[in-house]
Amino acid sequence: MAKYTLNINQQAVTVDVDPDTPMLWVLRDSLDMVGTKFGCGAGACGACTVHINGAAVRSCQLPVSAVGEASVITIEGLAYDAGRMHAVQEAWLEHDVAQCGYCQPGQMMSAAALLAQIPDPSDADIDQFMSGNICRCGTYTRIRAAIKSAAQKA
């Protein structure tokens, strides 16, 4: 076990965990921040996507010891403009994207990272960037539409 002070959702948080513990489990088990989801543990489904210094990262593949002072943003902190949801969250509601909803935090984190990189993405940009996130319910056409709406809002 070792102590790590992390910058999560713009707050300093100290955890005492094994150095190889993936950020996914630090968030879910040590901090009870359960919005970040466990899907595969292999970086293959995107359910655990968080932002590390603004980039979309699969938190199940990221040991806590590698995080350092990087800014970690999770779905709970995506709406960091106090009191207002992120444009992606608003668009997800507008298009009523979710079915079961389990993958959607990861989808929204990827979508927000995409829009930060490419503010007005093409269909091809969206398909390419979002194909690391599986939605088993098959809401892909709505996700595409919501990302385009969010691009207009931002």
């Binding site: 076990m1 965990v17 094994d18 190889d20 513990t21 993936p22 489990w25 879910r28 088990d29 040590s30 009870d32 359960v34 919005g35 970040t36 989801k37 466990f38 899907g39 595969c40 543990g41 292999a42 970086g43 293959a44 489904c45 359910a47 999770t74 779905i75 709970e76 995506l78 709406a79 949801m85 969250q89 997800w92 509601l93 009523d96 979710a98 079915q99 079961c100 909803g101 389990y102 993958c103 959607q104 935090p105 929204m108 969206i126 398909d127 390419q128 979002m130 194909s131 690391g132 996130n133 599986i134 088993r136 319910c137 098959g138 809401t139 892909y140 056409t141 709505r142 996700i143 595409r144």
Partner: protein, 745 residues
């Protein structure tokens, strides 16, 4: 306008609805009102329960108990819409909550078979109408006017005299009233909530990442567990050494648990290939996942054994599990041998032998499909807190009744001492009807005497079984000199069960018809997978009919419509499961919406299918590049009776279509000596954004028929419509799933 009685005999309101499966489900609108009347001082100070479904708060909030668990079919919105409609509630006042498990009040509480809305429609309407009647009576009493003169609208009561009150203001008085003897349902033409689009009431929680799934359950003092089962079907634990693993940090205990003692009669839900598993219990999920890898296990062949099984309707049979490890090559040979040998006849019309002997043309094709893993995005998991006297379980599952008796029996407790709470599910697709993991976590909690949350990792989830069966189907068609279909012959094989729909189309439309089937015994466990068995029968049948239509020189839609016209006007046989006119209706609607006859060079494929009491026609359009299809567009026409939440229904149809296309193109689980050849999502292909259709248009047949199934029907005909579109684009017929193998090798 329909007036209904709220009581049957001396019992309070109980509405039983017959279903396709012969099950019945009812709402017993008990009687908070009676209890309250007996001792008014005990009245709840906040919520006034008018019946099992509805409570009203003085603020005007209306809480609707949603009886069934939600895994994305959006019952948390559609159920309240039905009750709010009859209640004349203001939609903004509605709060949806997951009901507790209470069979006396809520009936079966199973999400599966596309039953939920169909089976709860009547009860929810009556619950809303009864509540409205009680509100009106309370107002009439308060104002000294006849109840018939009380008008309701948007949660407000009013009278021509100018008196007005909100439902919230009148809730306490209404709760004191006895249940009305009768109440009135609205005319369907007057619906103003049902049939509109309402946003998912759970949407805001989903986008914020709130805790709501079973895997998010957290309780004080809770430990975490995972399990390890044999790596191959047909294998079990010989011995194991966990001494190193037990010394790892954060590990509390490692031990084996056993399910299903020898004399246990397994119920519908008790499907499990691995009766003995190793449980690893520790402080965090990461601790137990790491320790699992440090356990040294010697596996051995599982001896053959038998058990008693009782199906959904209580019919008992003895199941014998063979001592063997199986490979996909063996399965395929065994199914081929069945197809080439004797099979069981399930339907015979006319004289198929003579029809085929006299045919001008005979078309004969064989279709195959592999096992599929459900892979819900939320891995299998469950929470249990087992004490000496009682137990509480919380988790994602498709129906608490499915686990209740099994868990209680394993704990040695009376079922009344075992509480099971439903959470939202991160997908189900049938997998969460089979709840061995609930029993496992109960036994683990009992062993360590602590609350425990059990999570399967993805590898364990994907390799533990309960798959979609594997199939081989041979179809033959006889055409006469006028290209009329005069004979149809099905030989349907499956491991361990075949597609068995002898009375579905085109039965009833062909004079000479023969359905035969057979199964190959296996120790690989299977269960319901979205549109069970329909999900491949549709592929075989609708791909085949496309080819038969082509051989007959007919347009594929016209060919189907002519058969359906025959089935409507002059059906063959009496036991035909479908309504030929509704079937034709979806074909015509899709044809017109896509402007089929003017499609020109656009590569389109059509398929229509009936299952789960609803009709769906999908028309898929593809572009081919580098031998792979891009699905440009899908046009879907559905007849599922009245649509409750229009946009929610469209979302579910879109999902079903994407699921069908994905599983047809990529889904596959094969076995070598009992070992599943895929273990995680890095090589088990699930459709991704790049492969999803560019556009999906969903259309509904306008209907006054009470709602039928919707979660499953759009999926099966997506598979053959895709195959038929690929043929249209490439000239290549597809016979074997996954299609990607045939396209790319």
């Amino acid at each position: 306008m329909t007036i209904f009685k709220t009581a049957i005999g001396r019992r309070s309101f109980l509405k039983a609805t017959a279903t396709a499966g012969g099950l019945s489900l009812g709402f017993n609108l008990l009687a908070a009102p009676h209890t309250l009347a007996a001792d008014a001082k005990e009245a709840p100070s906040e919520w006034f329960e008018l019946n099992a479904i509805l409570s009203i708060h003085p603020s005007g909030d209306i809480e609707v108990n949603v009886a069934n668990p939600d895994f994305g079919q959006n019952l948390m919105t559609s159920f309240p819409m039905i009750a709010a409609e009859e209640m004349d509630a203001n939609w903004e006042d509605i709060r949806a909550v997951q009901a507790p498990y209470n069979a006396k009040k809520f009936g079966m509480q199973i999400s599966g078979g596309s039953w939920s809305v169909m089976n709860n429609w009547g009860g929810l309407r009556m619950a809303g109408a009864t509540a409205r009647q009680m509100m009106r009576t309370a107002a009439a009493n308060a104002w000294g006017v006849p109840v018939d003169e009380i008008h309701t609208e948007n949660s407000m009561l009013s009278h021509a005299s100018g008196k007005r009150a909100s439902y919230g203001e009148m809730a306490a008085a209404a709760a004191m009233l006895p249940l009305p003897k009768e109440a009135t349902l609205k005319d369907k033409a007057d619906f103003n909530i049902v049939g509109t689009s309402r946003k998912n009431l759970v949407g805001p929680s989903i986008v914020k990442g709130d805790a709501m799934f079973g895997i998010d359950v957290r309780q004080e003092g809770m430990l975490r567990a995972t399990v390890l089962h044999a790596p191959a079907f047909g294998m079990t634990i010989d011995s194991y050494d966990a001494s190193d693993a037990k010394k790892m940090p954060g590990i509390h205990d490692i031990f084996t648990i056993k399910l299903f003692p020898d004399d246990f009669v397994r119920g519908f839900s008790d499907v499990a290939a691995f009766r003995e598993v190793i449980a690893i219990v520790g402080d965090t999920t990461w601790h137990v996942l790491k320790a699992k890898k440090a356990i040294m296990v010697t596996w051995k062949l599982q001896e053959s054994y038998s058990y008693q099984s009782a199906d959904f309707f209580g019919n008992k049979s003895t199941v014998t599990v063979p001592k063997q490890v199986e490979s996909t090559t063996d399965h395929n040979k065994a199914m081929q041998a069945l197809i080439d040998g004797d099979m069981e006849q399930k339907r015979l019309d006319g004289d198929p032998s003579t029809a085929f002997a006299n045919a001008a043309k005979v078309v004969e094709r064989t279709y195959s499909a592999p096992f599929l893993a459900h892979n819900p995005m939320e891995p299998l998991n469950f929470f249990a807190d087992v004490g000496k006297e009682s137990a509480k379980l919380i988790g994602p599952h498709q129906g608490p009744v499915l686990a209740h008796n099994t868990v209680a029996a394993h704990l040695g407790m009376d079922p009344s001492k075992v509480e099971i709470v439903m959470t939202r599910m991160g997908g189900g697709f049938g997998r969460r009807l089979y709840l061995h993991f609930a029993t496992e976590v109960a036994l683990i909690s009992q062993h360590v005497q602590r609350p425990v949350h059990l999570t399967y990792d993805r590898e364990e989830d994907m390799t533990v079984g309960v798959y979609r069966p594997s199939y081989l189907i041979k179809l033959r068609a006889a055409l006469d000199a006028n290209n009329q279909l005069i004979g149809y012959h099905v030989r349907s094989a499956g491991v361990p069960e075949p597609c068995s729909f002898p009375n579905r189309f085109p039965a009833g439309a062909v004079d000479n018809f023969l359905w035969e089937e057979g199964s190959v015994a296996s120790n690989i466990t299977v269960g319901a997978f979205r549109a069970p068995n329909s999900n491949f029968m549709a592929t075989a049948e609708q791909c085949f009919l496309d080819e038969v239509a082509e051989t007959a020189g007919a347009d594929p839609i016209e060919f189907r419509l002519q058969l359906l016209e025959r089935a409507a006007n002059n059906p063959v046989g009496e036991k035909n499961d479908y309504d030929a006119n509704r079937y034709a209706g979806v074909l015509k609607l899709a044809r017109d919406k896509v402007n089929w006859n003017a499609r020109g060079d656009r590569a389109m494929g059509v398929a229509a299918y009936f299952c789960h009491n609803s009709y769906c026609c999908n028309i898929v359009e593809v572009d081919m590049a580098n031998g792979e299809p891009t699905v440009v567009n899908v046009t879907s026409a559905l007849d599922c009776g009245i649509v409750v939440n229009r946009d929610g229904a469209i979302n579910m149809a879109e999902g079903g279509i994407v699921d069908g296309i994905g599983n047809a193109m990529y889904g596959e689980l094969t076995f070598v000596e009992g070992v599943p050849q895929k273990r995680n999502l890095d090589n088990y292909r699930i459709i991704r954004m790049l492969e999803a259709p560019n556009n999906i248009d969903v259309h509904f047949v306008e209907s006054q028929i009470d709602p039928t199934g919707l979660g499953e029907p759009p999926m099966p005909p997506a598979m053959p419509a895709l195959a038929n579109a690929i043929y249209s684009a490439s000239g290549k017929r597809l016979y074997d799933q996954p299609f990607i193998k045939a396209l790319k090798g």
